[in-house]
C-alpha cells in the first residue's frame, strides 16, 4: 500500500515539475521583454525543479538521499530569486528598454535616463549625469 502511495506521488510530482518547467521555457520563449521573461523563468522553473527533486526524494525514501534533496531544494529556493534580482538590476542599469505595454516603472524616477551610471561606479565618466540624492 505504501508502495502504491509513493509511486503515485512520485509520478504526480515528476509530471508537475516537468510541465511547470515547460511552461517556464515557453514563457522565456514568448514573453516580450527581459523583465517579463525573467519573472516567467525564475519563479516557475524554481517550483518545477523543486517538485522534481521532491519526487526523487519520495521515490528513493532513503535518509541520505532525502537530506541531499532537501539541501538542493533549499539552495534552489534561496538562490533563484537572488540571481533573478541581480540580472534584472544589471539589465535595468545597462539600459534595456521595458516593453511598450508596461504600465509602471518605479525605478524610472530613481535613475537618470539612458545611459545610466551608478553613483558608486568609479569608472563613470565625469560628464555623466549623477543620480539624484
Amino acid at each position: 500500500m505504501i508502495d502504491l502511495f509513493a509511486a503515485v506521488l512520485t509520478c504526480f510530482l515528476m509530471l508537475a515539475g516537468a510541465v511547470l518547467s515547460l511552461i517556464a521555457a515557453l514563457g522565456i520563449f514568448r514573453m516580450p521583454d527581459l523583465y517579463t521573461r525573467m519573472q516567467a523563468a525564475a519563479k516557475t522553473a524554481t517550483l518545477g525543479v523543486g517538485c522534481t527533486i521532491l519526487a526523487l526524494a519520495i521515490h528513493f525514501g532513503d535518509t541520505s538521499v532525502t537530506m541531499h534533496a532537501v539541501l538542493v531544494i533549499i539552495f534552489l529556493f534561496l538562490t533563484g530569486p537572488v540571481a533573478a534580482h541581480m540580472i534584472a538590476r544589471a539589465g535595468y542599469i545597462s539600459g534595456i528598454e521595458l516593453w511598450q505595454g508596461s504600465v509602471v516603472d518605479e525605478m524610472g524616477s530613481r535613475f537618470p535616463p539612458v545611459p545610466r551610471h551608478l553613483a558608486s561606479d568609479d569608472a563613470a565618466p565625469p560628464d555623466a549625469e549623477q543620480c539624484p540624492p
Binding site: M1, A7, A18, T46, H59, A83, S94, A123
Partner: protein, 95 residues
C-alpha cells in the same frame, strides 16, 4: 494494482525527460535569439535549472541516487556564474 503503479514510474520518468528536453530546446532558442546579453544569461540560468530537473528525472529512471550529487554541483556552479555575469553587465553599462 501496486505492481502496476510501481512499473509505471519509469514510463513517467521518460515522459518527464522528454518534456525537459523540449523545454531546453525552447530556452536554447531564446539563448540564440536573445537581443541582449542579459536575455542570454537568463536563458542560460533556465537551461541550468532544467538540467538539474533532468538529472533528477534520469536518476529516477535509472535508479541511481548518486546522480543527485551531480545536480547539487550544477546548481552551485551556475548560481556563481549568473551572479558574476550580472556584476559584469552592471560594470559594463551597455546592453
Amino acid at each position: 494494482m501496486s505492481e502496476l503503479a510501481v512499473a509505471i514510474v519509469p514510463v513517467v520518468a521518460l515522459l518527464a525527460l522528454n518534456l525537459f528536453a523540449l523545454a531546453t530546446i525552447l530556452a536554447m532558442l531564446r539563448m540564440l535569439m536573445g537581443p541582449s546579453l542579459a536575455d542570454r544569461v537568463v536563458a542560460l540560468d533556465l537551461v541550468a535549472a532544467l538540467a538539474v530537473g533532468a538529472i533528477a528525472s534520469f536518476a529516477i529512471l535509472t535508479e541511481q541516487p548518486m546522480l543527485l550529487r551531480a545536480a547539487i554541483v550544477v546548481a552551485l556552479v551556475v548560481f556563481v556564474g549568473t551572479v558574476a555575469f550580472a556584476m559584469f553587465l552592471e560594470k559594463r553599462g551597455t546592453p
